[in-house]
Amino acid sequence: MSNATETTTETTTLSDAPPTRWQEYQKIMDNGLWKNNQALVALLGLCPLLAVSNNVVNGLSLGLATLTVLLMSNGLISLIRHHVSSDIRIPVFVAIIATAVTVIDLLMNAYLHTLHGILGIFIPLIVTNCAILGRAEAYASKNTLDKALVDGFFMGLGFMVVLVLLGAMREMIGNGTLFDHIHMLFGDIALNWTIHFSDDYQGVLLAILPPGAFIGLGLLIALKNAMDLKKQNKQQNALGIPVQVSPKTEVTN
């Protein structure tokens, strides 16, 4: 897909840019991947996240589709931001997002047909992923094209990483495999990429069914919070300030 080329052009602009801009991009990256991760912190787009994350391939393909849609919608919305008055902005954003999603849906149907069949309704449902309208409204409509694209890319990447991690967890526990059906995404060269952990693994149904998605996501959020807390404590110790656990992190733990 076009993601690979997008990344390379972005990295070249990053290295040429003056340090202040570079810092800006780094902040956007940090927000998208960690601090304001759409799936783990903002908890947006849970419907596709929970429904499609039952294996790595589904997670990865829906993640890639969402990332592409976010890139397209953020870019287009940033481009037209001066031409749309505030009273019609939401319908215009929705139309742009719906168009981007339909384009991706048609392209996947044409060139990744089997995968499209499996993901089925969840590709058109990207339209309803609040993360996309959220980024359009909160960021792309107020920022320049380059920043909006970087934001779309890293917000999408953060969402995709969570989808893949959750998919890997559920597939390993529920099915005893990893990367099952990956050839549907990468073609025949990937036919032997599937990892089977055991020949007679019966599988844990709970992990594959919807509750498994909730439990898995809960564990991922807990892990992220624990890592944040550890980092926070470390920083405070380095400054010689006694460790204080904030009430917010206590609750989340």
Partner: protein
Amino acid sequence: MKTDLESTKKTTRNPLFKQMFGSAYKLSLFMFVCIVVLLMVYQLTAPQIAHEQREAMLKTFNKVLPPSLYNNIPLEDTLIITDKNALALLGSKEPVTIYRARQDQHPAGIIFQATARNGYSGHITLLIGVLANGTLSGVRVLEHRETPGLGDKIEEQKSDWILSFKGRTLQVHTENNQLIANDPRWAVKKDGGEFDQFTGATITPRAVIAAVKNALLFVQKRGESLYE
């Protein structure tokens, strides 16, 4: 006085109307651009999508009816069933297309879809291949929403169960000029039949067996006329 009031009304109204029409104009413009883009992408991808759908269909065709048995193109030799009684046997409310396979003009077999309407969660769509002599050549599940790990053993990837239909026939007898299925083998073992049930899921196999049985009854009722 009156004219004065009207003129002030007009001046206060005008900017509002202007804004409204401006917004409406812009919104329609954006929608128009979106529609044009979509139409273009649709036009570009339509042939490829049609090709992929055809390929996907052929792939499943080959699973229910060996391609070595025929030399025509079943996708182009079709019969559309609209008769209500026949559609009831096939579990469908929409017309069903029968794809006919022939070897040198002689009937070789037919391929068609049937729906089991009483699955554990919703409909189960099946693709069924029947040889010209009424023997089943294969059944595959095209679409279902049965419970993963229990009912989804009807999928070929999950278990060999669906392969047990191959080579089976249905015994029928005539009663009041009506063909009626008379074959106790067509049930799960629990109900005295010959088919395995799944642990924890008997509703799913029961539904599939009943759907295939009805489909075979439909084929026997129609007989030769299916190839005309």
